[in-house]
């Protein structure tokens, strides 16, 4: 069996043209997701998490955004590996919704208000599974049952506005799962929901992932969620990956000062008096030109002169990697 990961993003760079000139919200993202694995992509707002996921889907807002460097390798069901960054848009479209699916942060606005939820799920099914109208609607109904929506037979004919936020996110999940994708990208799927609903949705995603054996790229800024759902974690800061590792390793022995600062913001740790909340007081770094040192240096309590010059590379060691020149001294 092919041991290469399902998704392997290498040194991804994304540029956006804006009125103030070109910006590079993602510059050097390397991460991988294996089949059946859940990888959490964490980082604060503006760190480039969502842009990374949109680039993977080929959904960067056009014509402003484009992938300007790196590769997004995806292993198709057929076994063939393709680079999503350079794949023709018609081929990419065939993968979207069928092999790679996505759920979004805003359940209230992510469903089309003028189509019934059944029609919206069935559209995807008809497109990718070449089923007829009736069969597709039947499949939609089954999907609603799968995501534990009661009265699926009736609900399939309802419009999004007749459902609550949690219900709509279940519909979004049903929609994403409808063609048995091998990779699911979940962009903050629980952020907009009540805490109790959040937990239900997480449990649901976890259950479906196990049942269907999908790889999941789970984007979040909530480390509590990460601990609960992820196998591995990739931490992003200012458009770069700063640390990658298993959940256990990252939570036990964070190597990058930013990761440890993030962990110290968790209420439980902050209460233990572990030097918490320091980072919260400062302002997230803006994305400057590449190469003039570590992007986190201005906020870092461990920063030294060596951090402010040159470009800092991602150091890999076994299953972990970290982008910090001083991690051995600072966190050994």
């Amino acid at each position: 069996m092919d041991k290469s990961p399902l998704l392997s993003i290498r040194d991804l760079e994304v540029r956006f043209r804006t009125e103030e000139g070109e910006v590079t919200p993602v510059r050097g993202v390397t991460l991988s997701v294996g089949a059946g694995e859940t990888v959490a992509l964490v980082g604060e707002s503006g760190s480039g998490k969502s842009v990374t996921s949109l680039a993977t889907m080929g959904l960067l807002p056009r014509p402003a955004g484009r992938v300007s460097g790196g590769q997004i390798l995806f292993r198709k069901r057929s076994g063939e590996t393709v680079d999503l960054a350079t794949l023709p848009s018609s081929d990419l479209r065939k993968l979207r919704g069928s092999e790679i699916a996505m759920i979004f942060q805003e359940p209230m606005t992510s469903l089309n208000p003028v189509l019934t939820v059944g029609e919206q799920i069935a559209e995807s099914v008809r497109l990718h599974m070449s089923l007829g109208h009736a069969a597709a609607l039947k499949r939609a109904e089954e999907m609603l049952e799968l995501v534990e929506i009661p009265n699926a037979r009736r609900r399939v004919h309802e419009y999004p506005h007749q459902m609550s936020g949690g219900m709509r996110q279940r519909v979004m999940i049903a929609l994403a799962m409808s063609c048995n994708p091998s990779l699911l990208i979940a962009d903050e799927p629980t952020t907009a929901l009540d805490v109790t609903i959040q937990a239900q949705i997480l449990v649901l995603i976890e259950r479906l992932q196990k049942e269907l054996g999908m790889g999941v790229l789970f984007i979040t800024h909530n480390l509590g969620v990460v601990a609960e759902i992820a196998d591995r974690v990739t931490v992003m800061y200012a458009g770069q990956v700063v640390e990658t590792g298993t959940v256990g390793a990252i939570f036990r022995t964070p190597r990058h000062p930013y990761t440890s600062a993030l962990l110290n913001c968790l209420p439980a740790r902050a209460q233990r008096g572990e030097d918490g909340r320091r980072v919260v007081q400062s302002i997230p770094g803006s994305i400057g030109p590449v190469g003039d040192g570590c992007a986190f240096a201005p906020r870092c309590s461990q920063a030294a002169d060596v951090c402010r010059t040159g470009s800092i590379m991602l150091e890999a060691e076994m299953e972990r990697s970290v982008r910090c020149v001083r991690w051995r001294e600072a966190f050994a």
């Binding site: 479209r93 979004f104 469903l111 208000p113 003028v114 995807s124 497109l127």
Partner: protein, 313 residues
């Protein structure tokens, strides 16, 4: 639904009453004694007094209003002073050209304006958008009489493809009618498409950045389908509003265009009635046009409920 629709109809009656009151009292505000005007310079005081009695003009104005309301409530809009026939009949004779002209023009305007607006929104800021927006601006500012004259000169006189003016012989086949309407409808269609282009473009731009459009793309739906099914389906409400209002406006009679093309429509009728101070015709035509306007608005509201499931009556 039916209860709410009934309530809606009730409020329409109130609107119609207010329209009737305005039409009646505004007409009375015009200077001069209608009876004296009707009889002309040679009339004696007795003649005028007799005519005032015949038309009830000697009664207090509120009594006149109530009597008039009673008449229009039963569908009697009175007798035209100059046309020697009931106002209802005069309007009915003129309704057909105006109705078909309005229908034809709105179809042209929508068929030109909606696709142009969609194209313009999808390729926002590109050359095609600039061309479409420029043409729309031009269309909005072209006087319809000028465009009408150009069209007559080019397509009717020079090329001879269409009749120059008029509505054809009485009892002519429908195709002949269409030929007579083609030029004026195209003129009105072009002039009125400008607003539809702008509304469609704005409405489409609004929805194209919505989250569900991104969701549709994430499903692998083709771009054409994303635009036409997911975006356009949500952009329809404002578009229907502006198309409906354009239709309502045109039913009121495109006075200038009807005059340029010599079409015997409502607009034409009203203009000649105003020139001759044929008060019953003016009042009657205004009432009928207002009623149609109100009904089209009701129709627009009913269409909303089919287009957007969130709208309910």
């Amino acid at each position: 639904m039916w209860l709410k629709l009934g309530r809606r109809l009730g409020s329409l009656l109130i609107v119609m009453f207010l329209v009737a009151a305005m039409v009646f009292f505004l007409t009375r505000l015009a200077p001069g004694d209608p009876a004296a005007l009707m009889l002309g310079d040679q009339a004696t005081a007795e003649d005028i007094a007799r005519l005032r009695q015949v038309y009830g003009l000697d009664k207090p104005i509120l009594v006149q209003f109530v009597l008039w309301l009673k008449e229009i409530a039963t569908g009697n809009l009175g007798q035209s002073i100059f046309l020697q026939r009931p106002v209802v009949q005069a309007i009915a004779e003129r309704a057909e050209p105006t109705f078909f002209l309005a229908l034809f023009s709105v179809s042209v305007a929508a068929l030109v304006g909606i696709p142009a607006g969609i194209v313009s929104a999808v390729w926002r800021g590109r050359l095609v958008d600039q061309i479409v927006s420029g043409l729309a601006m031009l269309a909005a500012n072209i006087p319809s009489f000028w465009l009408g004259l150009i069209f007559i000169q080019l397509f009717a006189v020079r090329l001879g493809w269409f009749p120059v003016a008029g509505y054809g012989e009485p009892g002519a086949p429908f195709l002949d009618r269409l030929m007579h309407l083609a030029l004026p409808a195209t003129v009105l269609g072009i002039v009125n498409s400008a607003l539809i282009v702008r509304f469609t473009r704005a409405s489409m731009l609004d929805v194209l950045s919505d989250d569900y459009v991104r969701t549709a793309r994430s499903k692998g739906v083709s771009e054409v389908r994303v635009v036409l099914r997911h975006a356009f389906g949500n952009a329809l409400v404002p578009i229907i509003t502006v198309v409906g209002l354009t239709a309502a406006l045109l039913v009121g009679g495109a006075i200038v265009t009807e005059t340029v093309f010599g079409l015997p429509g409502i607009g034409n009728l009203v203009v000649s009635a105003v020139l001759r101070r044929d008060y019953p015709v003016i009042q009657g035509a205004l009432i009928v046009v207002a009623a149609i306007y109100v009904l089209i608005n009701l129709l627009i509201d009913i269409i909303y409920t089919f287009v957007d499931p969130r709208v309910r009556y």
